[in-house]
């Protein structure tokens, strides 16, 4: 070491270089040198240290084995818990779907029974028609039929540089994001164009449904939906398609598609089936029947 260097630098570099170069414990070399001087030790002492050494190796092996089994026992533990939770979730969502199906089936049965009871009289038939129309409009019943499918999606992501890490990341430009208000406007335009039933990403809209943003996700009736957003509208396609395509809303989103790259596609569908709305409560009821029909319970 040259004398003008700071003392600390020389000690640390000395420590590091000795650590990197003399990996072997210097005691071995010293012991070898001593042995060279003193000659062989007596046999009794030799066998004693040998058995000690074997004991040490046994302990070392034990340590390795225990550490291995310990780690193994721990990792699958958390993995097991995760898998069990996953199984629980899957089982419960399957059960929910099953119950949902049963609910729809029972509702259809109730509707059939009501119809069967009502078609007996002229007045009943009128009531039955009214009920069916209301049920379709409120999303209580699943509906099938032709209509229009509007697919909206975020603009394709662009390369940009992350301001924090300096890495290039793919980001959807802000103007190219489909927002809750976009879906609201399109859904309202579809209602205005004569849609009889609408579903967003498979979620049937009831009159009280909400479409809103929470954080970065869009929620339809508190269930998240994601891009591409498929808005299915059942209605007479001969009226629905030209009316919606000619609407101010469709014109505006067509312009957005060209300006910002938002996905906006219309497709006529001959056969769609929309499930019933999952989440509705009876909030208001009115007895439209004449007193002769009698109160129902």
């Amino acid at each position: 070491m040259s004398s003008h260097r700071p003392r600390i630098a020389s000690t640390t570099s000395g420590m590091l270089s000795s650590l990197l170069e003399d990996a072997l414990d210097p005691a071995y070399a010293e012991a070898a040198a001593r042995r060279g001087d003193a000659g062989e030790r007596d046999d009794r002492k030799r066998s004693q240290t040998l058995s000690l050494m074997i004991g040490c190796l046994l302990v070392a092996g034990l340590l390795l084995g225990i550490a291995y089994t310990d780690t193994r026992a721990e990792a699958p533990g958390s993995e097991r818990a995760r898998l069990a939770l996953l199984a629980d979730v899957q089982r419960d969502s399957a059960r929910t779907a099953e119950l949902q199906e049963r609910l729809e089936q029972l509702r259809a049965e109730v509707a059939d029974a009501v119809d069967a009871g009502l078609v007996v009289t002229e007045e009943g038939r009128a009531q039955s028609e009214l009920v069916q129309r209301l049920e379709a409009a409120t999303g209580v019943l699943a509906v099938e039929g032709p209509g229009l499918v509007v697919t909206m999606s975020d603009a394709p992501p662009e390369e940009s540089v992350d301001p924090v890490s300096g890495e290039s990341v793919e980001v959807v430009p802000e103007a190219g994001l489909v927002l809750d208000i976009d879906l609201q406007v399109v859904v309202n335009a579809l209602w205005a164009a004569g849609a009889e039933a609408i579903a967003v990403d498979g979620r049937r809209l009831a009159p009280t449904s909400s479409i809103r943003t929470a954080g970065e996700a869009i929620l339809v009736d508190f269930q998240p939906v994601s891009s591409p957003y498929v808005v299915e509208a059942v209605g007479n396609p001969d009226l629905l398609v030209p009316r919606f395509a000619g609407s101010e809303t469709a014109g505006r989103y067509d312009a957005y598609r060209q300006l910002y790259g938002i996905g906006f596609d219309l497709a006529r569908a001959e056969q769609m089936s929309l499930a019933a709305a999952t989440d509705y409560d009876l909030r208001y009821a009115e007895n439209t029947a004449t007193p002769t029909a009698g109160p129902t319970k």
């Binding site: 990197l20 074997i54 034990l62």
Partner: protein, 110 residues
């Protein structure tokens, strides 16, 4: 030969017996493992260098494991346990690597 067998026997015993490690010993186990590995690699290298000494090995093994555990224990008491564990692992890891490289040079002559 016998030492290698002893090591293998220890591993097998550890795997088969599957002893539960008491909770208070849990933080020292990884450090003890690294220290033991360091001693074993050092011993193998010394053997290949032709300067192996059983007594040095025994003393270095016991003191390595104890000192490593002691450092971690002290660190735990003083609130720098994780950092000191890292320090021990780094230093012993460098030594293990150096000894492994020396063993490689002996075995493959490269």
């Amino acid at each position: 030969m016998i030492p290698a067998l002893a090591l293998a026997l220890g591993i097998v015993l550890g795997l088969i017996l599957d002893p539960t490690v008491p909770l208070w010993l849990q933080p020292y186990l990884p450090i003890a493992v690294v220290a033991a590995l360091d001693s074993v690699f050092g011993g193998v290298r010394a053997r290949l260098d032709g300067i192996f000494d059983a007594k040095v090995f025994v003393v270095s093994f016991v003191s390595n494991v104890l000192v490593a555990a002691l450092i971690v224990f002290l660190g735990d008491q003083l609130g720098v346990g994780a950092q000191l564990s890292t320090a021990v692992v780094v230093v012993l890891g460098i030594r293990i690597f150096g000894n492994a490289a020396a063993i490689r040079r002996h075995v493959f002559r490269a």
